[in-house]
């Protein structure tokens, strides 16, 4: 097991080193860029960026990282708003988005695409194809959390729609089967089955574009 620590910054994406070999790693790509393990890549673990309330409902027996007491006063819940105002070291004029636009970045079968967060807020659930595969991006019941799924069950594409007119958050497929925010069917022909979740990265456009030069931007 390698233990990583913050060691520097490269165009506003941080660099880390591991205590065991001293190798330098780029955060967003998980790639070893210099040192003994150069060329190696860390596997991106499936993770979610969720509101605590939503996560707690889904994982009532889960564990939450405690605050480090001596640093707790330096934690800043307004951090995102403040970072959004900071200058960027690299920009991509002429591309579709502004440097500090927040995107959900997905990579599937060699294809990378950025989904502007504002678009997801307005259009969720989004159905798209990426690397030849059907995918869904869904905004959660809290209006803040986003999940991306490979939208296929037993070889058949699944397109999700928002069920309207109910207080409870429910998604529907084309046959009227019900799905929850975990991507699992609660009724219908796929009842009990779950879509596989895709690793999604929430990032600023300039950073995503910098490390995914071939990325496209979702437009609809």
């Amino acid at each position: 097991m390698l233990h990583f620590y913050l060691a520097g910054i490269n165009n506003q994406n941080f660099l880390m080193r591991d205590r065991e070999t001293g190798t330098w790693w780029q955060q967003i790509t998980g790639k070893a860029i210099f040192g003994r393990l150069k060329g190696a890549t860390l596997e991106l673990a499936p993770s979610d960026e969720l509101s605590f309330g939503l996560w707690k409902k889904e994982s009532p027996s889960g564990q939450v990282l405690s605050a480090v007491p001596r640093d707790a006063k330096k934690y800043d819940s307004k951090w995102e708003e403040e970072v959004a105002k900071l200058p960027v070291p690299i920009s991509f004029p002429g591309t579709e988005l502004k440097s500090r636009d927040v995107v959900i970045g997905l990579e599937l079968a060699g294809e990378a695409r950025a989904y502007p967060f504002d678009t997801i807020l307005k259009q969720s659930p989004i159905a798209d194809r990426l690397g030849g595969n059907p995918i869904s991006l869904v905004l959660g019941p809290d209006g803040k959390s986003v999940r991306a799924f490979l939208s296929r069950i037993d070889g058949a594409d699944v397109e999700l729609f928002r069920k309207s007119g109910t207080g409870e958050f429910t998604l529907l497929d084309a046959e009227g089967g019900e799905w929850n925010f975990k991507g699992c069917a609660a009724s219908g022909s796929a009842n009990g089955k779950c879509l596989s979740e895709l690793a999604a990265i929430k990032d600023y456009w300039f950073d995503w574009r910098n490390y995914h030069p071939s990325t496209t931007v979702y437009r609809h």
């Binding site: 620590y5 941080f14 955060q27 860029i33 210099f34 960026e49 509101s51 803040k144």
Partner: protein, 165 residues
């Protein structure tokens, strides 16, 4: 008399070279690896190569600078002595800083991550968290903590994970 002046001249150049080399090994990477500044791939490579040699060679440069500085101290004038002190301090400071991770001065690392049960946490329900689950072991890493610490090393359901933000 000629011999002595020659020696001071040569020693003076050696002293200046040692100070320049030692401080460059620290200052060039420190200048390149800083926030809000564009870094080309070439510049980053240069910084990382210098960082690799810095821990050893800043010490060598500091030892040379201090030894030579003391050696020529007796023959140096008032202005020259001030320069000698300045150079020795610069070389010593570079050797010290080359073994410091000042990024962790600003953002303290988490030595050993501690956890609390979901229903014990005082975190507001609207706060965002990073969630990882392996083998039914569900963990939440509050963004407000991650935005400060940046890296947490953890084992989730038996799987070693580096949580980064």
């Amino acid at each position: 008399m000629d011999q002595v002046e020659k020696n001071v001249g040569f020693s003076g150049i050696l002293f200046a070279l040692a100070v320049a080399a030692g401080s460059s090994l620290f200052l060039i990477p420190a200048f390149i690896i800083q926030p809000f500044r564009y870094q080309s791939a070439k510049a980053l490579k240069l910084a990382l190569v210098l960082r690799q040699y810095a821990p050893l060679w800043t010490i060598v440069a500091a030892i040379v600078a201090v030894s030579v500085g003391c050696w020529i101290w007796g023959r140096a004038g008032r202005v020259q002595r001030r320069l000698l002190v300045l150079g020795m301090l610069l070389a010593a400071a570079s050797a010290t800083m080359a073994r410091m991770n000042y990024f962790e001065w600003m953002f303290h690392p988490v030595a050993q991550p501690g956890f609390e049960a979901a229903d014990q946490s005082k975190l507001d329900v609207s706060e965002m968290i990073l969630a990882v689950t392996f083998n039914n072991d569900a963990r939440a890493y509050p963004i407000r903590e991650m935005a400060y610490h940046h890296v947490v090393n953890d084992v989730v359901g038996g799987v070693p994970v580096a949580v980064t933000y």
